[in-house]
């Protein structure tokens, strides 16, 4: 079974994001970019399926700026077999919206015919949480979102999902879309020898036009603001003072 994993290049989770002066978004110039952490989990899960003998080939796809090939190389270094880069933007600040991504992915799936797509549950930059679901709708496939456990049993995938109040286990017929939640696994470290091997793995470059998809944004960003800074605290001298301050603040 072939497994397809879409991966997104996003601002590194360690970076303290700064909003651009004009409020149009987060400043990404000269900022460390990495693979979306949930996508890393998705790649790891695919590799584990391959190690178990369930998956035969892992194809990773990224849609965005040309620099996303770095993200694909990381996935290849982790253990993916081949990569497809769909160049859909020139400006690092242009975010391709979930619907356009899902449409391109549908076209890739039509070509590649994977038995399973594992995606991250959401990208940490825009937190849309929509691509996997939209892709399932476009393909007419079953979907199992927020997976914390995945087992392939014959023609079906048994998926444990993290839902409010606990865990839910469902079964979806393959082919299907699974989206990865945080506890699905701990992604491996891409070692230097594997980074070197990954240099030789195939990376095919396409454009959005190759798939006939219009990536013009449909959403307009009205404003972007940084969270308010924490205000300095005060020291209280006694429990009584603490209680009266809390009352003053209207929290008790």
């Amino acid at each position: 079974m072939k497994v397809l994993v879409p991966v997104k290049r996003v601002i590194d989770y360690n970076v303290k994001a700064r909003v651009k002066a004009d409020g149009s978004g987060v400043d990404l110039a000269n900022v460390k970019m990495s693979m979306n952490p949930f996508d890393e989990i998705a790649v790891e899960e695919a590799i584990r399926l391959k190690e178990k003998g369930t998956a035969t080939e892992i194809v990773v796809v990224s849609i965005g700026v040309k620099q996303a090939q770095e993200t694909l190389r990381t996935a290849l270094a982790m253990g993916a077999d081949r990569a497809i880069l769909v160049v859909a933007a020139d400006d690092v600040h242009q975010d391709i919206e979930p619907l356009a991504v899902a449409k391109i992915l549908k076209a890739v799936v039509d070509q590649e015919q994977p038995g399973l797509v594992i995606a991250g549950k959401q990208a940490i930059d825009n937190d849309m949480n929509a691509t996997g679901q939209m892709l399932a709708a476009l393909l007419g496939w079953g979907q199992a979102t927020f997976a914390s456990k995945l087992e392939i049993e014959g023609e079906a995938a048994k998926v444990t999902r993290e839902v409010d109040g606990g865990l839910q286990t469902i079964e979806v017929k393959l082919p299907a879309i699974v989206t990865a939640d945080l506890r699905l696994n701990e992604p491996r470290y891409a070692s230097l020898p594997n980074i070197m091997k990954a240099k030789k793995k195939p990376l095919e470059e396409k454009t959005a036009a190759d798939y006939g998809v219009d990536v013009t944004p449909r959403l307009t960003v009205v404003s972007t603001r940084e969270p308010e800074g924490r205000k300095a605290g005060i020291k209280v001298g006694s429990v009584d003072e603490l209680v009266s301050k809390l009352k003053e603040a209207g929290v008790v």
Binding site: E70, Y189, S191, P193, I195
Partner: protein, 678 residues
């Protein structure tokens, strides 16, 4: 005036210490001919300038000829020490730092085959494991002779203008008298606790009489030997009380434990992966019981913990000794509110382990420490701004980037991986070595401050480098494990890195062939044995893991010995063949033709790295200097002037393991030494 508890002055009798941070006594093994000369002085003055309140110089300075130094200590029994100590003291005083010294007689904790070949003495015949001498049991004239030596040495320090001194009493002669384990004298110096303390009080009294009330006196002692049959915490309190009640001392400097074995020493002075501040509460108990000035140090590497120690009133002065080796300007940064800029001590203990191997104490990741005369702790800004391109973000590349950026250059870094760190990142994957990552994160923070441009996930080629239009190119690409050392079966083995990175899953019955002798083999053994697997480490060396050194070995042994790991020395892995679903390893010997076989299911080879130097050789013909480094200029701290290629657009240098497999300190020293003059 700051209200930081650490920055409050402390009144010790007549002496005002300007804050609560001290450097405890630690012999960095810098003396020349047993004297604290220019290198030694520069080391202390650098720290005095930055505001440390008190520096306890030396470390085990020898009072007698039959206490020959084990790690190049100061010879306090020579009169010429006065001039050198005076120079050091005067200069530190000029910068407002109080100066004291630690004096000692090592007793059995040394060797007879050194200096004057005198027999080693102790109050019993008990041998110390670490130094292996069988001591002479002291006679009455030995005791009187050594008491006089202590007093004479103290007088020399008073003459040199020091503010005071402390006597060492943990593992050395003084507490060899105290401990029932090492004192079986049947005269007035053995037996009861008062008899066992008599030697100490005779010395203290002698020093007081000779040096007067204005010369401060203290004892640095263990308050609990933590050994069956030794003196315990209760006895420690009694001893502390007696020291105070004698009226002969002005401060107590408390440690806990015993140092007669590597493991014991490592519990007294913990290394990375071990608990921080393990003995702080204990020191606090002694202060509470005695209500007397109390000093303490033992793995308090961070300012918040030091601040807690003072704020909570646990001790009066807090030692941050290795922390000051890593960052001599620690106190200045606290004063200026720049705590985040402090270069952190990562507990690698390279400093301390090296002195026992006869070397100078160097900081694993501050190559200027101990080299103050030639290497800068504050990087001077260059007169001309240049474009510097660095390939590789391991310790060498990041140090080069930091130094170049601090010099004001425009710096671009390429890194193949998605994160910085190189081999440090690999080693720090293991919980016990996690502190190592601060070597990288501190440099990343400094680089960010100075606007270094990073390109991760980029396996840079010639075009990438040329596109940055560089004036200087530094190749710091490190190396890859080299495992092809067998006559047959190279394809059947994996590297220690494969185990550390998780690329290869541990087997169940594993042979590790280690002839690099560094951390990687032991880390691999630790990871593999933790799964319940059986591990045998085989090395052609006479002893295993020589590069790991004594104290660093301790945490490994604590894990490995509990897990049935075996060590086989003086055998060399020759070949590996398949044997059914197992492997058959053949071991040979450098001593003759003997061989023996092992049937196992996994073979790990640790044989260092080979440079990843492709990019360097691709760039070499395009460079002005054809990669050549003028070593004479490099060592002298002069500018590099080599010019071979008229058409070259940039100069090319190679540092760290990209040149040849060495260690983190070598990588960082390579970078600092080269880039400070670029």
């Amino acid at each position: 005036m700051s209200n930081d508890p650490l920055l409050q002055p402390y009144q010790l009798k007549h002496l005002t210490l300007r804050n609560r941070i001290m450097i405890t006594s630690h012999e960095p093994a810098y003396p020349e001919d047993g004297m604290p000369k220019d290198r030694y002085r520069a080391y202390h003055v650098e720290r005095a300038k930055a505001g440390v309140a008190l520096t306890m110089t030396a470390g085990s300075a020898a009072v007698s000829k039959d206490s020959p130094p084990v790690f190049n200590n100061i010879l306090a029994y020579k009169d010429e020490v006065v001039g050198w100590m005076k120079k050091l003291t005067d200069e530190c005083h000029e910068h407002g730092t109080a100066v004291m010294i630690q004096l000692t007689h090592l007793g059995r904790r040394t060797r007879w085959d050194k200096a004057d070949w005198l027999p080693v003495v102790s109050p019993s015949h008990e041998r110390e494991a670490s130094h292996r001498s069988f001591p002479k049991k002291m006679e009455d004239w030995d005791i009187q002779r050594i008491i006089k030596d202590y007093v004479d040495a103290a007088e020399r320090m008073k003459a040199a203008g020091l503010d005071g001194l402390e006597l060492q009493a943990y593992g050395h002669l003084m507490d060899q008298f105290w401990s029932p384990l090492t004192n079986d004298l049947d005269n007035e110096y053995g037996g009861s606790i008062d008899n066992r303390l008599r030697f100490t009080f005779d010395i203290l009294r002698g020093i007081r009489e000779r040096c007067g009330e204005s010369f401060l006196l203290g004892v640095r002692y263990t308050g609990d030997e933590c050994l069956p049959g030794g003196f315990d915490a209760q006895d420690g309190i009694t001893i502390s009380q007696k020291l105070k009640d004698s009226g002969l001392v002005d401060f107590l400097n408390v440690v806990r434990g015993h140092i007669d074995t590597d493991a014991g020493l490592t519990d007294v002075i913990p290394v990375q992966g071990m608990r921080n501040a393990p003995h702080l509460e204990f020191a606090g108990q002694i202060k509470k019981a005695t209500d007397f000035p109390t000093f303490h140090a033992a793995k308090i590497p961070d300012v918040p913990t030091a601040r807690h120690a003072i704020a909570a009133g646990l001790v009066d002065m807090i030692g941050m000794t290795r922390a000051h080796m890593a960052d001599p300007h620690l106190v200045r940064k606290v004063i200026e509110g720049r705590e985040d800029d402090i270069r952190p001590c990562v507990g690698a203990n390279y400093c301390l382990d090296r002195i026992y191997q006869g070397g100078l104490a160097f900081c694993l990741h501050n190559a200027a420490t101990g080299r103050e005369e030639t290497m800068p702790h504050t990087i001077p800004v260059a007169s001309e701004k240049r474009r510097v391109t660095i390939v590789g973000a391991g310790p060498a590349g990041l140090e080069a980037a930091r130094v170049a950026a601090e010099r004001g250059h425009e710096v671009t870094v390429f890194e193949a991986a998605d994160e910085p760190g190189g081999q440090i990142r690999l080693t720090a994957l293991q919980e016990r070595r996690r502190e190592m990552i601060s070597i990288i994160s501190w440099r990343m923070a400094m680089c960010e401050k100075h606007g270094v441009k990073f390109n991760f996930n980029t396996f840079a080629d010639v075009d990438d480098v040329l596109a940055t239009n560089p004036d200087e190119v530094i190749i710091a690409t490190g190396g890859l494990p080299h495992t092809e050392v067998l006559s047959e079966g190279d394809d059947l083995v994996c590297s220690a890195w494969d185990i550390l990175s998780g690329d290869v899953k541990p087997g169940q019955n594993v042979l590790i062939f280690d002839d690099a002798g560094d951390h990687a083999a032991l880390q691999a053994a630790d990871i593999i044995s933790a799964t319940g697997a059986k591990v045998e480490i085989v090395t052609p060396d006479r002893s295993f893991s020589p590069e790991v050194m004594a104290m660093n070995l301790v945490p490994y042994m604590r894990n490995l010995q509990g897990r049935d790991t075996t060590f086989t020395v003086t055998w060399r892995l020759r070949s590996v063949k398949r044997d059914g679903n197992q492997l058959r390893a053949t071991l040979g010997s450098d001593y003759g033709d003997m061989t023996k076989d092992r049937v196992i299911d996994q073979v790990v080879v640790n044989h260092g790295t080979r440079p990843l130097d492709e990019l360097y050789f691709d760039l070499k013909p395009l460079s002005k200097n054809l990669g050549e480094v003028d070593y004479t200029a490099l060592i002298a701290g002069d500018k590099q002037q080599v010019q071979h290629n008229e058409d070259g657009q940039f100069r090319l240098f190679r540092i760290g393991d990209a040149v040849a497999a060495r260690n983190t300190h070598a990588a960082i020293y390579d970078a600092l030494r080269l880039v400070k003059d670029l």
